[in-house]
Symmetry: C2
Subunit: 243 residues, 2 copies
Amino acid sequence: MMVLHHGWRSSASRRVRLCLEEKGLSYQSHVVDMAKMEHHSPDYLKINPLGVIPTLMHDGRPLHESGTICEYLDESFPDPPLRPDAPYERGEMRNWIRHIDGLIGNLIVFNWRHHLQKVAKQWSDEELAEKMKSIPSRERQEAWLRVARKPHTEEERGAARTRLVQLLDKMEEALAPSGWLVGKAYSIADIAAVPFVKRVEEEIAPDQVSEKTHPRVAAWWAIIQARPAFARANIGPFVTTDS
Amino acid sequence: MMVLHHGWRSSASRRVRLCLEEKGLSYQSHVVDMAKMEHHSPDYLKINPLGVIPTLMHDGRPLHESGTICEYLDESFPDPPLRPDAPYERGEMRNWIRHIDGLIGNLIVFNWRHHLQKVAKQWSDEELAEKMKSIPSRERQEAWLRVARKPHTEEERGAARTRLVQLLDKMEEALAPSGWLVGKAYSIADIAAVPFVKRVEEEIAPDQVSEKTHPRVAAWWAIIQARPAFARANIGPFVTTDS
């Protein structure tokens, strides 16, 4: 029995849903409402002391960190495989996940300015101070402070955009030999990049995911989106009118 | 044929040396002199675009990130194993490595104030500006700026010390079931913690690695140091009179 505590728009959650769907694993979905700070509630912190999403519960045990969860799923349910066989390629895969993880701050600059900013800017100073206390990591405290009181400037968004486009540059180079980031097949390295490319393509720098600018990334992205698991993982538009 | 590009005092290098020695693997040692910025030289950046140490060259291919390298070594040379068998415990191991990696900034506050600060504070403004250009990551640029011009304050060192002692608290809890961080045996999770505990014990907060304050960590540390691989990995005193 698996339960995924996740958010529909959370990049890390999207990775894990993609991995579960590629493997054809069924799971119970429990949506954690970040705007309501449910991920910092005492109950949630019991299964995830970092107060981030997602958390996978499997056989009653919690696991966090999307890269770790995806590799756990591949080791627990090896078929179809989502990791290359060769140790060196596995190392490259892990370094890709790590590299992309390190860019999450740049994605947050764009993602949190929608739903979360709408909610956070209405908090009183007292409410804000109270919520800060429940946030385990300093990076996330800073992210909430920014959306609540000091939204990122156009210049900051520009710098974040530049770093996300550099990810596409790096992918473009890596995709040359086989069309996949690592080895000769779709792997967790590709899955790690999906939520990033999705956001770049729909809002952050749409012209950068194209035949003209990054042809191999554009071809990769078309193939990824055509996979049946992509539809099932529900990686929809980030900004919708109903929320 | 393996070549390890490393530094004797670098925490990440110490992890990889421990792993190599536990496995009884022979390798050629190539010391990278950080004070001379050798890790930012064009030649080194070719094998490690992040400009950090260590890098392992094996069969002519470079691999970086100490956690990734250790897991690569365990997959390439499985005997003796340094990872638990169970997928869940492997996940826990990877999250331990990740968690400890995230604390490296706190260790740098203490480590860089010795040899590197001595060198960096003598740079002219022009030299400093020139060196900054060769440093790929912003975190590391900041770290060099601090040792060159604005050494960390006692208050900042106190905050870093607190976070490193919190690592011992977390270890103390995790060591309860078996005496090891994960599963029932010595693993890469333990190896990841070794360079941190070493520095806490010798300089940062010596009284915290003791029977009185963290008895399980103290027992674990005694057992680790008694392993033959520990001596061979040459994890010596950080500050010596000859350098």
